[in-house]
């Protein structure tokens, strides 16, 4: 070690240049790795988390209009908790797109509902105003906007802004809000968002407390795509739907009868009539009379007898919804009476799916009807929802969305997505950057190693006689090799350390530069208009170890040649 250290000083200039090369290479590696880590951090923990979470569950409902709404939030949250490990939190999506109307100008806005205990307050720095003011009782509810978005519509702190949007049923809304806070603008994507009290927005969207537009799950392992997808698949399997059925009461005059009401898919599945005809044998009326009816019902003969109903009778259909104290009631017309059967419970009654689109799907029953023993007939009945197939990537996800847009369907469809499917383009971009970073690393390694090899070969050549002299006085081959290797390893150690310090200085300098990419998509990769670096101990130590080991190996192989020199040949060597 002492000899190696002294030799380093002896050939100071050459070693200094090599050391600088290694230090600069190390600095570039650390800066590049920190930049890509920063991008990953932004993507996974800032952009994706707020856009879709790491796993997202949505329920696409189409009754009289299409909207995303999960009607039974507690049930879905329980399914998530039972099947998804490592949950950091479950975000409830209560948001909508709309138009902001300021002073003479309008703009696009994405209204996002914020809960009182949200991380939003810790993670968001306001330029002015108090974020908690969105919960302060006032003439108009509070809204927090991005500064540029507010400026675009000529509003400032304490001004009022009108936001027009539609409820989940398509009802027009144009409430006024008071601007209680302004956030420094980040980039063109995030500027569109504006934040309000989630309970206020829920009411405006006509969502009940147990309803939500979607559930975004934030996990502790976003970068582990395999695990995330596996977990999503498990959750998908757990969301297998049951039959859509209601434990209801039918009444005719003073007569009452309990009924398990199911919906026949007579409109959406043409083969239903054939399937149902195998199990439902009509004594009067027909399936044809029921098809397309929004107020028709077919009764079991025993139930019809107990109610005193015949075809054409008007019965009152009544059930309690799960999340309301007001019963759902509708007058129905008996369209048919079927023969009793062993496989057909006395309480079973059948409506056309049209009835359920405006009752069941908007008001989940407190008591769902049980599954039917008749498996064949069950195939003809409406399910709580259809599970959409899992998509492999964004392309497949988009095709699925387009297909849903083109098809004629009603009811509900549930989709389980991970960010690897909903935003695979962004993730592919991030992976591409990582690949570029790896290639840069390899190129740098190559350059560094070339430098090490070249310097060592020059040094060995110049010190050949010295090697001969040392060997002549008793130094062994291994010792000769060790001297040269130690020189390089010590140099690499010191240079890498210097490189890390240089890297931190560079990162501090680069991140202090303000880069205004307001209307540029790449602005999403900046934080507060500054480059974002996220150095990790793992990558720094990893690069450190790799460079030192590589230097060791190269120097070992090169020094072997020096060690193998014959003493006499070495002593006779002249430059």
């Amino acid at each position: 070690m002492a000899i190696a250290s002294r030799n380093l000083v002896r050939q100071f200039r050459r070693n200094l240049l090599l050391g600088i090369t290694i230090a600069v290479g190390m600095a570039i590696l650390v800066v590049t790795a920190s930049f890509t880590s920063g991008l990953t951090d932004i993507l996974f923990n800032k952009v994706m988390v707020y856009m879709t979470g790491h796993i997202r569950v949505v329920r696409d409902e189409y009754t009289t209009r299409r909207s995303d709404v999960i009607r039974d939030k507690p049930r879905f949250i329980q399914a998530i908790r039972d099947n998804v490990p490592g949950i950091v939190r479950i975000d409830e999506d209560v948001s909508t797109f709309g138009r902001s109307v300021g002073n003479g100008k309008t703009g696009m806005v994405a209204l996002v509902g914020i809960q009182k205990d949200s991380d939003f307050y810790n993670e968001t720095q306001l330029e002015s105003g108090n974020p908690r003011d969105i919960f302060k009782p006032d003439v108009f509810p509070g809204i927090i906007m991005y500064k540029n978005a507010a400026k675009d519509i000529n509003v400032n702190l304490n001004d009022t802004v009108t936001i027009r949007f539609q409820s989940i049923y398509g009802q027009a809304q144009a409430p006024k809000f008071r601007v209680v806070g302004l956030i420094p603008s980040q980039n063109m994507f995030m500027d569109v968002a504006a934040f309000v009290d989630v309970d206020v927005l829920r009411g405006m969207l006509n969502l009940k407390p147990e309803e939500v537009l979607g559930l975004n799950v934030v996990t502790s392992y976003p970068a582990d795509s395999q695990k995330l997808i596996q977990v999503a698949n498990k959750l998908y399997a757990a969301l297998t739907p049951n039959l859509a059925g209601v434990k209801a009461e039918l009444s005719l005059g003073s007569a009452r009868a309990p009924a398990n009401v199911y919906a026949l898919k007579l409109d959406s599945a043409p083969q239903t009539a054939t399937v149902a005809a195998g199990s439902l044998h009509f004594l009067s009326g027909s399936l044809g009379a029921l098809a397309g009816s929004k107020d028709g019902i077919v009764l079991n003969e025993a139930m019809a007898r107990s109610l005193g109903a015949v075809v054409g009778s008007h019965v009152l259909y009544r059930y309690m919804p799960k999340f309301s104290a007001d019963p759902v009631q509708k007058e129905l017309v008996v369209k048919g009476i079927v023969k009793a059967a062993a496989s057909l419970p006395q309480e079973a009654a059948f409506a056309d799916e049209e009835l359920f689109y405006q009752t069941y799907f908007w008001n989940i029953p407190r008591e769902p009807a049980p599954a039917l023993a008749d498996a064949q007939l069950s195939k003809a009945l409406l399910l709580e929802w259809d599970l959409l197939e899992r998509s492999k990537n964004t392309d497949a996800q988009m095709k699925k969305e387009l297909r849903l847009g083109r098809e004629n369907w009603h009811g509900a469809k549930v989709d389980v997505q991970t960010m690897y499917e909903t935003a695979s383009l962004i993730i592919d971009f991030q992976r591409g950057l990582n690949l570029v970073s790896i290639i840069a690393v390899l190129v740098l390694f190559f350059v560094i190693l070339i430098g090490v090899v070249n310097t060592m070969r020059m040094s060995i050549r110049e010190r050949t006689r010295e090697i001969g002299t040392n060997r002549a006085i008793g130094m062994q081959r291994g010792d000769v090799r060790q001297v040269f290797v130690m020189e390089v390893v010590i140099l690499a150690f010191a240079a890498c350390a210097a490189g890390i310090l240089l890297a931190y200085g560079l990162m501090a300098l680069l991140s202090s530069i303000t880069i205004d990419l307001r209307d540029n998509p790449f602005s999403m990769f900046f934080v507060n208009k500054h480059l974002y670096f996220f150095p990790t101990a793992a990558s720094i130590i990893g690069n450190y170890v790799v460079i030192v080991i590589a230097a060791f190996l190269i120097s070992f192989l090169t020094a072997r040649r020096a060690a193998k020199l014959q003493v006499a040949d070495a002593l006779r060597h002249y430059e």
């Binding site: 209009r65 027009r164 398509g170 009802q171 027009a172 144009a174 847009g405």
Partner: protein, 264 residues
Amino acid sequence: MYHLRRTSAAKTAGLVFVLLLAAGGLWASPSVQQIIDFIDSTYELRSDMTARAKIITKDPEQGTKVIESVLYRRDKDDAFLIVLASPETERGNGYLRVGDNMWLYKRATRTFTHIGRDEKIGGSNATAGDMESRKFRELYKPSTDASGKELISEATLGGAKIPVYRFEVVAQVNDVKYPKLVMWVTRDKFLELKRESYSLSGTLMETDLFGDYKEIEGRFVPLQQWFTDEVEKGKISKLQITGISFSKVDDYKFDKSYLESLSK
């Protein structure tokens, strides 16, 4: 959007009203429910229809936009087809409704997309839902005050002081765009002259005016309609209807292939 009256039915119904009121010895205002029922019974189209429509939309930020279209309606199943004729960017696009299905056809991509009621027609304020003929009485019921009395009063409208009834209705279903309406109808024929549409939270969203009523083949049609956006001030749309005919429309026009053929 299109308000039509069958003269003979309107006259008969109006006469019945007058006779009933005279027989009762009272010259009281009709109830809101009576007016709603009357609108439904006389508004309901009982034949096919063809019309040309021109919508001029003025937007302070986007300037003036003119959309021209042809509308076909088939009575037997309430199907409709709207084919956009201008501007050039929208020409050939169409909206087709048959049964419960509504589609948007894009000429550029030659694709049909299923749409909902709130899809805007060619970027105007008109929506696909406006084309539906759901019965007014299924959608709305009379507003009442605290004592249960319907909110209806006699008033006059405009500089000409046209005698009208002013009344309020509220939605009785969730899926209507405007949960509350205030309407002004003429006292003689119950022709709607003005409508104020309110949001779920009670904000005035739009004021509509209906004028230039003409009797065409036994029906009263407002040939000009104005829609004023009360939220985005300065935004106004004007609808002009021409070339109305109630003759039978060929069935082939309500098929997707017809829309596609127009693109060739």
